[in-house]
C-alpha cells in the first residue's frame, strides 16, 4: 500500500514538475520521464508482492464528501492491473525522455503534465473501491487522454479529440446509470456492497441486473474500443504522441475490459447465460473486423490502433468464455477463459506498447506515418528493427512468444467450452475458434506487411534513406518491452499460475492447475496445459529438419550474394518503386472482404454525428431570432435607456463618490438594524 501511494505521488510530482517547468522544456521532459519511470517501478513494487501472495488490502482514506467513502482496495485483480500499467509506464516514460524532444516548442511540458496525470488517474481508478471515486478517476483519465489526443492541434487531431470526447462521455453516462442502479439496490456506493449482488440471496431481478450489465458492457465497451463503438479509437490513438498512444492502446482500453469484468463477474456474478455469449460474440466480431480494417491501413499508427480493436476482441473472447463457464457451473472453463483473457490483456499491453514505441521511433526519424514512404529501415535502425520484429512476432501469436501463450489459453478454453452439454455452447465454441483462427492468420499477414514494407526492401523516400538509429532511451524503452515479450512467452509455466490465481480470485473458485505438458485437451478437468519450453524445443526441431535436409541433399549452389547487389528484376533495371507496397500487398484481400470493408463506412459514427450537428445548428439558427426579437432586444433597449438616466450620477468629482460610499455604508448598516428583527 505504501509503495502504491509512493507510485501515485511520483506520478503527481512528475506532472507538477512538468507543469512548473514550462519555461525550461528540456528539464520538464527529463523530469516528467524520470519521475514517471520511478513511479512505474514503485507501482511494480506495490503490485507484484500482492500478486504473488494473493492477499487483499483494503484501506479507507479521508473523504471530503459525506456520501462517498474513499475506499482503496488492492486485491489480486487490481494488483494485476497496476502491474500491467506500471510495466508499460516504465518503458514509455524512459522512451519519452528522448522522444518528447520532437514536441519541444509544441507544449512538451504540457504533455508531460497530462501524461503523468493520465497514468496517476488510471492507477487510482483500478484500486478505488467506491463508485463515486471510480467515476471521478475515470473522468480524469478521459480528460487527460483527450488533451494527449489533441496534442498536434491540427484539424485532424482536434476532430479525433472531439469524437473521442463525445464517445468517452457517452460511455461514462451509461456507466453512471449502471452504478446508480446498483447504488439504489444496495444503498451504498462502495464496491464492497455492490459485490453482495452476486449472492443469490441479494440478487436483483433478472431484467434489472441484465439492464445494469448491458449499460456497463456498452459503457465500458466504448472505452475498450470494441467493434460498433470503436469509431474513435483509430482516429484518437494515432493522434497522440507515440508514448501516449502506447499507454492509451496498451492500458487505457484495458480499463474498459477491467470494468466489464468488474461489473459482469465481480458485482453481478455472471448470473445470466446470454451475457457471456454477448461478450463472446462482440469479442469475435471485434477481433475479425479489427484485423481486417488494420490490413487496409497505410498509416502505421492507425494500423496499430485497429489491431487494438482486434486484441480487445480476443481478450473479450476470454472474458466471455469465463462468464459462460461461471453461469453453467464449470469453474475450470471459467478460470481458463479468464486466465486467457487476463494473460492476453498483459501481453497485448506489452507488445502493443512495444509496437507503438517502435512506430514512434520510425516517425521520429522519417517524419511520416505513411508506410509507403518508409522502406529499408532495418539497415539504418537495426536495434529498433529487431525490437519491432519481436513485437510483430508476438502480436501475430508466433510461438514461443507471449501472444501465442495467451491465445493458446483462449483456444483451450474455447475447446473445453465446445464440450459443453447445451447446443448453444456446442455451436458457439467452434465458431469462436474459427474466428480466432482467422484473426490469427490475418494478423500474421498484416504484420508481414508492416515489417516488410517499412523495414525491408529499399528506402522509398529521402527521409527513409537518411534515417539513423534513435537515441538510447528510446531504444531502451522499446527493448524493455521486447525482452518482456520473450520472458512472458518462455516463462509462462511460472507466470500462468500467478495469473490463474488472479482469475480464480475474480470468480471466487479454486485455482486451476497449470501443468507442464503437451496435450491439447486437458486430461483432467482441473488442468490447463502448456509448456513453452517444450514448444521451443519442438520448434527448433522443426527448423532443424529443413536445415538437415538441405545439408544432406545440397547440390552445387550459387555464390552467396552480398548486401550491395540489387535484387533481380526480370532483366529490367531495379527501382525502389518495384518493392512490394502496403497497398499492393493487401489488394487481393481487400477485394475478397469488400462487404466487410463497406461495413466500416456504415459503422463509422462520424456522418451520423455530423447530420445531428447540422440539424441542431439549423434548428438553433431558426429559433435564435425569436429570442433576439422578444427577449434580448427589449431588455437591451431598456438597459440603454436606464443607463442614460443613471449617467447623471457619474459626476466625475470623486468627492461625490465618497458620499455615495458613505450613503451606501449607512444604508447597509441601518437596514439590518431596522429590519434584522423581522
Amino acid at each position: 500500500m505504501t509503495a502504491l501511494s509512493v507510485s501515485i505521488l511520483l506520478y503527481i510530482a512528475g506532472a507538477l514538475a512538468s507543469l512548473a517547468l514550462n519555461k525550461a522544456e528540456n528539464t520538464a521532459i527529463k523530469l516528467s520521464g524520470i519521475l514517471g519511470a520511478l513511479g512505474g517501478v514503485a507501482g511494480l513494487f506495490a503490485s507484484v508482492p500482492t500478486l504473488l501472495n494473493g492477499t487483499t488490502v483494503v484501506k479507507q482514506i479521508y473523504s471530503p464528501f459525506y456520501f462517498a467513502d474513499f475506499m482503496i482496495r488492492l486485491d489480486p485483480l487490481a494488483a494485476f492491473m497496476v502491474m500491467v500499467i506500471s510495466v508499460l509506464v516504465v518503458a514509455a516514460s524512459i522512451y519519452s525522455i528522448s522522444y518528447m524532444e520532437e514536441y519541444k516548442g509544441k507544449g512538451a511540458w504540457a504533455m508531460g503534465f497530462f501524461m503523468n496525470t493520465f497514468i496517476a488517474s488510471m492507477v487510482a481508478l483500478v484500486v478505488s473501491d467506491n463508485a463515486f471515486y471510480f467515476i471521478v478517476f475515470f473522468e480524469m483519465m478521459s480528460l487527460a487522454s483527450y488533451f494527449l489526443v489533441i496534442a498536434e492541434q491540427d484539424k485532424k487531431a482536434v476532430d479525433a479529440g472531439l469524437q473521442y470526447f463525445l464517445i468517452a462521455h457517452a460511455g461514462s453516462v451509461l456507466i453512471l446509470i449502471a452504478f446508480y442502479m446498483m447504488y439504489r439496490a444496495t444503498g451504498s456506493m462502495n464496491f464492497a456492497s455492490f459485490e453482495t449482488l452476486r449472492d443469490t440471496a441479494h440478487a436483483l431481478p433478472v431484467w434489472e441486473s441484465s439492464v445494469i450489465f448491458l449499460l456497463a458492457f456498452f459503457g465500458f465497451g466504448a472505452k475498450a474500443g470494441m467493434i460498433a463503438l470503436h469509431g474513435w479509437l483509430p482516429k484518437a490513438h494515432p493522434a497522440a504522441p507515440s508514448n501516449g498512444s502506447a499507454l492509451m492502446s496498451g492500458v487505457m482500453v484495458k480499463i474498459g475490459v477491467f470494468g466489464i469484468i468488474k461489473v459482469g463477474i465481480v458485482f453481478l456474478g455472471a448470473q445470466v447465460l446470454w451475457w457471456g455469449f454477448v461478450v463472446l460474440a462482440f469479442g469475435c466480431v471485434s477481433s475479425v473486423l479489427g484485423v481486417l480494417y488494420a490490413l487496409a491501413e497505410h498509416d502505421i499508427k492507425r494500423l496499430l490502433a485497429y489491431h487494438t480493436v482486434e486484441n480487445v476482441g480476443i481478450i473479450l473472447m476470454g472474458v466471455g468464455v469465463g462468464m459462460i463457464g461461471m453461469t453453467t457451473g464449470h469453474p475450470v472453463i471459467a478460470a481458463l477463459g479468464l486466465l486467457g483473457g487476463l494473460y492476453h490483456l498483459l501481453n497485448h499491453a506489452v507488445f502493443k506498447g512495444l509496437l507503438f514505441l517502435g512506430a514512434g521511433s520510425i516517425i521520429f526519424r522519417t517524419h511520416t506515418k505513411d508506410m509507403e514512404k518508409m522502406g529499408g529501415l532495418a539497415k539504418v535502425m537495426p536495434y529498433t528493427a529487431l525490437a519491432f520484429l519481436i513485437g510483430t512476432m508476438a502480436i501475430s501469436a508466433l510461438p514461443p512468444l507471449n501472444g501465442f501463450v495467451s491465445e493458446w489459453f483462449i483456444y483451450q478454453s474455447l475447446l473445453s467450452l465446445s464440450h459443453g452439454s447445451s447446443m448453444a455452447v456446442q455451436v458457439g465454441g467452434p465458431v469462436a475458434i474459427i474466428m480466432l483462427a482467422i484473426t490469427g492468420a490475418l494478423a500474421c499477414m498484416c504484420f508481414v506487411k508492416v515489417f516488410g514494407v517499412s523495414f525491408c526492401g529499399a528506402p522509398r523516400t529521402e527521409n527513409a534513406a537518411n534515417a539513423k538509429e534513435v537515441p538510447a532511451p528510446m531504444v531502451m524503452g522499446a527493448w524493455i518491452l521486447a525482452i518482456l515479450c520473450v520472458v512472458l512467452g518462455l516463462g509462462s509455466p511460472w507466470i500462468a499460475p500467478v495469473i490463474s490465481s488472479v482469475a480464480t480470485s475474480v470468480i471466487s473458485m479454486d485455482t486451476v492447475n497449470v501443468v507442464q505438458g503437451a496435450a491439447l485437451i486437458p486430461a483432467d478437468g482441473t488442468r490447463a496445459i502448456l509448456s513453452t519450453p517444450i514448444i521451443i524445443i519442438a520448434l527448433s526441431a522443426l527448423i532443424l529438419v529443413p536445415v538437415l535436409l538441405v545439408s544432406v541433399f545440397r547440390g552445387p549452389a550459387l555464390k552467396r550474394r552480398t548486401k550491395r547487389d540489387l535484387p533481380w528484376a526480370c532483366g529490367y533495371g531495379y527501382e525502389g518503386r518495384m518493392t512490394v507496397s502496403a497497398g499492393g500487398f493487401t489488394q487481393a484481400l481487400r477485394s475478397m472482404f469488400a462487404p466487410l470493408y463497406t461495413l466500416r463506412k456504415i459503422l463509422d459514427p462520424a456522418p451520423a454525428m455530423n447530420a445531428v450537428l447540422t440539424a441542431t445548428t439549423n434548428a438553433a439558427r431558426k429559433t435564435e431570432p425569436v429570442f433576439d426579437d422578444y427577449i434580448i432586444m427589449p431588455v437591451s433597449r431598456l438597459i440603454i435607456r436606464l443607463a442614460d438616466k443613471i449617467k447623471v450620477m457619474q459626476h466625475g468629482d470623486f468627492r461625490i463618490y465618497c458620499l455615495y460610499m458613505v450613503i451606501a455604508l449607512l444604508v447597509l448598516l441601518f437596514v439590518p438594524v431596522e429590519f434584522g428583527g423581522m
Binding site: Q650, R655, L659
Partner: protein, 216 residues
C-alpha cells in the same frame, strides 16, 4: 475638577479645532492646527489614563504625540511646501455653511449616542458623541475641499475620531495594539502624499475639479 467633565470639555475643544482645520484657507496653517488638535487628543488620552487607571494609554499617548502631533502634520507641512496650487485653495463652501454643517453633525451625533447604555461611558456621552461626529467631520472636510492634499486632513480627522472611540471604550487594550492603530495613519498619509505628488507631476494641479479625466 471632575475627570469626566474635563474629558468632555477637551472633546468639545476637539470639535472646535477640527472646524478650524477644515475652515482655514492656507494649507500650512491647517497642518499647524491639525497638530494642535492632535495635542488636545493626546491630552484626552492622558486624562482617561489617569481617570480609568489605564496605564497602557500612557504609552499610546506618547506614540500618538510622535505620530499625530509631530510626524503627520510635519509630513503634510513639508508636502504643502513642495506642491502649491493657489487656485485649489478657494473653498467650495462658505465657512458659515461649514460651521452650520458641523453643528448639525454634532447634534445628530448626540442624538445617536443617546441610546447607548454602557456603564463604562455613562458620564462620557458627550465625548463619545464627538468621537462619532469626527467621522462625519472628516467626511465634511473631504467634500468641502478642492485641494486633494487638504482632503487628506479629512482622513486624519476620521482617524482621530476612531482613536478617541477606542480610548473611551477599550482603554485597557494592550499598548501594542494601540500603537499599531496610530502608526498605520502615518503610512496611509505617506501613500496619499505619494499619490498627490504623482498627480501633481503629471497634471500640475491639486484641484479636484481638474481631476475628472477618468469620467466615462
Amino acid at each position: 475638577m471632575n475627570g469626566d467633565l474635563l474629558i468632555n470639555n477637551l472633546a468639545g475643544l476637539l470639535v472646535v479645532t477640527s472646524l478650524l482645520v477644515i475652515g482655514v484657507r492656507k494649507p500650512k496653517a491647517a497642518a499647524v492646527l491639525y497638530s494642535l488638535q492632535s495635542l488636545v487628543l493626546v491630552g484626552i488620552f492622558l486624562v482617561i489614563a489617569d481617570v480609568a487607571h489605564a496605564h497602557s494609554l500612557n504609552e499610546w499617548a506618547v506614540s500618538a504625540f510622535i505620530t499625530k502631533v509631530v510626524l503627520l502634520p510635519g509630513l503634510l507641512y513639508w508636502a504643502f511646501g513642495k506642491m502649491e496650487d493657489p487656485v485649489s485653495e478657494k473653498p467650495e463652501i462658505k465657512f458659515v455653511w461649514i460651521a452650520v454643517a458641523a453643528v448639525a453633525i454634532v447634534i445628530a451625533s448626540f442624538e445617536a449616542v443617546k441610546s447607548v447604555e454602557l456603564p463604562l461611558v455613562a458620564g462620557l456621552k458627550p465625548a463619545l458623541a464627538v468621537s462619532l461626529g469626527h467621522f462625519f467631520m472628516g467626511l465634511l472636510c473631504i467634500v468641502s475641499q478642492r485641494n486633494i492634499l487638504k482632503q487628506a486632513f479629512g482622513y486624519c480627522l476620521m482617524e482621530n475620531g476612531s482613536s478617541l472611540t477606542l480610548a473611551l471604550l477599550a482603554n485597557k487594550a494592550p499598548g501594542l495594539m494601540e500603537i499599531g492603530v496610530t502608526t498605520d495613519a502615518v503610512f496611509a498619509v505617506i501613500i496619499m502624499i505619494v499619490l498627490a505628488r504623482l498627480i501633481y507631476s503629471k497634471l500640475n494641479t491639486l484641484d479636484v475639479r481638474q481631476l475628472t479625466t477618468m469620467k466615462g
